[in-house]
């Protein structure tokens, strides 16, 4: 769905503050895929994804949506931004209408849709993020909890009915329940509605649970890509890049160092439980006792 070829981005070109944010990045993201992007602060994650919906223009290289160059002459970039929705960091700071419904309706109304269609989309989008339209729709966004506000902002992006959803640190500042709820809804949008998801996060645990493929950025370059099991199998390298591995992967690696033969690519608590019980059973048999 999205393809970047030799994408380079330089901010403030020709000024003393010139910084090269991306260098020669080539990648593809398929329709319906769930991709996690990880990288240290300043590695270029946010700059990269702002090219996916043409908010930024490459300094060199090309970005294609469904095979069409986003910066070719005559491209309707408003259509691009409908298809590729982007939820910025701390999106609740951009809520501004008097009611949640009005805020979510803002985008579709600007598309010039008739009012029935707008209202239908508002209800659908709020339901998708777990906010009952009758209960939350009439309320002021500023009366909501942090997690609810974040989900209302997500509904605003969903009301445009995008095919790809990009989330930049969607859980920052939320409590554990707020994190679980928003990521739960994102996971369902992917599984049940087939949305392609691009998730930028510092939480290795979230990437492990959700992403089918992981992209690793380091100082503006794409330095690794692969399934989460493959990426998290090399903790020393990730550490050198300012990153880490999921909690349960770390546990598995520590147990192996101590000689307990668990599988090396554990990602979740459920997998860790199975792996530990299995490894102890095997060792118990070889030692003649459990």
């Amino acid at each position: 769905m999205i393809r970047c070829e030799h994408l380079t981005h330089i901010y403030g070109r020709g000024t003393p503050l010139q910084t090269q944010a991306l260098t020669d990045v080539s990648l593809t993201i398929a329709a319906g895929e769930f991709v996690g992007i990880i990288g240290a602060t300043g590695s270029g994650k946010s700059t990269l994804v702002q090219h996916f919906n043409a908010l930024l223009r490459p300094t060199a290289g090309h970005v294609y949506l469904d095979g069409g160059d986003l910066h070719a002459r005559g491209v309707d970039r408003r259509r691009v931004r409908r298809e590729v929705g982007l939820l910025f960091q701390y999106p609740e700071q951009q809520l501004f209408e008097e009611t949640v419904s009005a805020d979510v309706a803002f985008g579709p109304r600007n598309l010039g849709l008739d009012e029935d269609e707008v209202q239908m989309r508002v209800r659908r989008a709020l339901t998708l993020v777990g906010l009952d339209p009758d209960r939350f729709g009439p309320r002021s966004p500023f009366e909501l909890s942090g997690g609810e506000m974040r989900r209302a902002a997500l509904a605003g992006v969903l009301s445009m009915e995008p095919r790809m959803l990009i989330l930049d640190e969607p859980t920052a500042g939320l409590d554990p329940t707020g994190r679980r709820e928003i990521l739960g809804h994102v996971g369902r949008l992917h599984r049940e509605r087939g949305l392609a998801i691009v998730l930028i996060t510092h939480s290795m645990d979230a990437v492990a649970r959700l992403a089918g493929r992981v992209l690793v950025l380091d100082r503006g370059r794409l330095v690794a890509e692969g399934g989460p099991r493959e990426i998290f199998a090399d903790p020393a390298r990730l550490q050198a890049l300012g990153l880490g591995v999921p909690q349960m992967t770390l546990l598995g690696q520590r147990l192996r160092e101590r000689g307990l033969p668990v599988r090396p690519d554990i990602l979740t608590v459920a997998e860790a439980r199975t792996a530990v019980l299995e490894a102890l059973r095997v060792r118990g048999r070889s030692h003649g006792a459990l």
């Binding site: 300043g42 909890s145 500042g173 679980r180 909690q247 546990l251 147990l255």
Partner: protein
């Protein structure tokens, strides 16, 4: 027993909204914080954590009740700088806390306001930068630093004031994993080496699990307190409070339920490794 450094008695705080619909943020808190201890404060969004933090160094004063730091009442307008010298805070956003154009000038900023002689300031800045491991970037400009380094500069600025207590209010939440490790590791080390009380306000349960004591807030009240092992063994109570145990604690519970000899109160990966694969 050592007397507490900070005492909080029946603390109430109400933010004045100006619309008449004032909501109480804190509703009668009692708390003692002791020298050298590491206290984690957790709670859902809006539970009052940050409001409580701002009372610990007089950024807010009680609507009713009392907060004393080293015996000084935070409501005494004459004593506000004595309170802030004793309790330093580092906040969430690394880009909002640095005021000077060069790292060492930033660290010196607070001391200069205390009116200390230049040689004393020099000495304190050197020691503080060494304590957070940033001597090598002393002449750098703040924008050249990573997020974790910026937060350590902020910690150094607090240390230069010779405080008794350091409060980290979600100071790692915007950092990458390396930055999180740097900042928390630095704070825990300083607390142990220098006898500094450390208050960690956090949404990351793995961080709270490293404290000596955990306080859980909900709707402006303390609803649970105890050791991390006690708090994080209570999965269902935590879920009602919008919290959850660290993954290691969840796994420990499941392994115990499956019949393995994992005792209650196991909440960290280190503990699990010792139990499941003890050294030969």
């Amino acid at each position: 027993m050592v007397p507490p450094l900070i005492t909080v008695r029946d603390l109430h705080h109400t933010y004045r909204s100006g619309t008449g619909s004032d909501t109480p943020a804190l509703q009668g808190l009692d708390l003692d914080i002791y020298p050298g201890e590491c206290l984690a404060i957790i709670g859902g969004n809006g539970s009052g954590k940050s409001t409580l933090a701002k009372h610990l160094n007089g950024l807010l004063v009680p609507t009713s009740g009392e907060v004393r730091v080293d015996g000084i009442d935070t409501r005494d307008p004459e004593a506000v700088w004595q309170v802030r010298q004793r309790v330093g805070m580092v906040f969430e956003n690394p880009d909002n806390q640095i005021v000077a154009a060069v790292v060492e000038e930033d660290v010196a900023f607070g001391c200069e306001n205390l009116g200390l002689p230049p040689a004393e300031i020099r000495d304190r800045v050197d020691r503080s930068l060494r304590a957070v491991g940033l001597e090598s970037v002393r002449r750098h400009q703040p924008h050249q630093l990573s997020g974790g380094q910026k937060q350590r500069v902020a910690i150094a600025g607090v240390l230069a004031m010779r405080p008794r207590c350091l409060v980290l209010d979600e100071a790692t939440s915007m950092l990458d994993p390396e930055g999180q490790r740097e900042v928390l590791g630095t704070a825990l080390r300083l607390s142990r080496q220098e006898g500094l009380a450390l208050v960690l306000i956090t949404h990351w349960m793995e961080e709270a699990a490293q404290a000596d004591r955990v306080l859980v807030l909900a709707q402006g009240r303390i609803v649970l307190q105890g050791s991390p092992a006690e708090i994080f063994s209570r999965g269902s109570a935590l879920a009602r409070l919008h919290l959850e145990p660290p993954e290691a604690a969840t796994l420990a519970g499941e392994l115990a339920a499956a019949g393995l000899p994992v005792p209650p109160g196991v909440i960290t990966i280190d503990q699990l490794v010792e139990i499941l694969a003890p050294p030969p």
